[in-house]
Point group: C2
Amino acid sequence: MESLTIGELAARSGVAQSALRFYEREGLIHASRTGGNQRRYDRAELRRVAFIKIAQQVGVSLEEIREALASLPENRTPTKGDWSRLSARWRHRLEERISVLERLRDQLTGCIGCGCLSLQRCKLVNPSDRLAGRGAGPQMVLNPPGE
Amino acid sequence: MESLTIGELAARSGVAQSALRFYEREGLIHASRTGGNQRRYDRAELRRVAFIKIAQQVGVSLEEIREALASLPENRTPTKGDWSRLSARWRHRLEERISVLERLRDQLTGCIGCGCLSLQRCKLVNPSDRLAGRGAGPQMVLNPPGE
DNA sequence: CTGCAAGTTGAAGTTCACTTCAGCTCAAGG
DNA sequence: CCTTGAGCTGAAGTGAACTTCAACTTGCAG
């Protein structure tokens, strides 16, 4: 079994066929075609799909995932190194996200309980990209003073 | 300054006015009205908005947030205890989410590099709710064997 | 009292990530 | 051959979470 049908890839990856077709339209994955126009996936596509799912967990948009995947070599099957490089790109992001949630966990109850959730002192929430400089919203958890 | 205008609440919470109106329509927050039909927010609403933002960070949908907030007492300003109870409800969820991301962080590079991302052995991704029983997709990170 | 920033509404529009549908064609077992 | 399940396409639909718009009203500083 050299290549996979869309049904097989869907089953093995846990991603719906419709989503796989969607990903293909969006340039995230690739498929060759049989004489009868059916998709056949190289086993390497499994890794792409897995990467997509992982990146989504980390909170990366399909657009960014597409860009990242586009940086993989087209002419050969990606190597360990290629994947490592790619995953490294989001490691920082993942770590940031984790520490946000950890601060949230550590402070949530106390913070809400004590009323500092009034957002002046505690500054809990804010999307991390629009933090810098802007004073609005709760930021202590997402953007703690000690960093 | 007893109550806040929508502009003030938006500025202090970091949530757009349009989103605040949207939240009100959805029953997430409440406002009283001036004679001229303008919204006035009790300071306690700041805490509600903060709670909403926090819950969103944890990955809770507005629908669920609405349900949680609905369990707060209507007849009085919520106390520490009320908020603690509410936040406790999502603590487990938050912890689950954190451990998913930590496993992701710990295994991502190696896992992708070594090729076990082929999803058979490593089982990386899957939404945690449809994990049980279903064999499809990568699950080791989201649903590690040692638990 | 006036001017203008701030607020109001309902309806429609937007983005993301898919899913569903209708109407086909393809492939493989009996 | 024939049936049946798997696959194909483009277009439209979905749901979450908002945003934008147009047309209008309020509230306060000067």
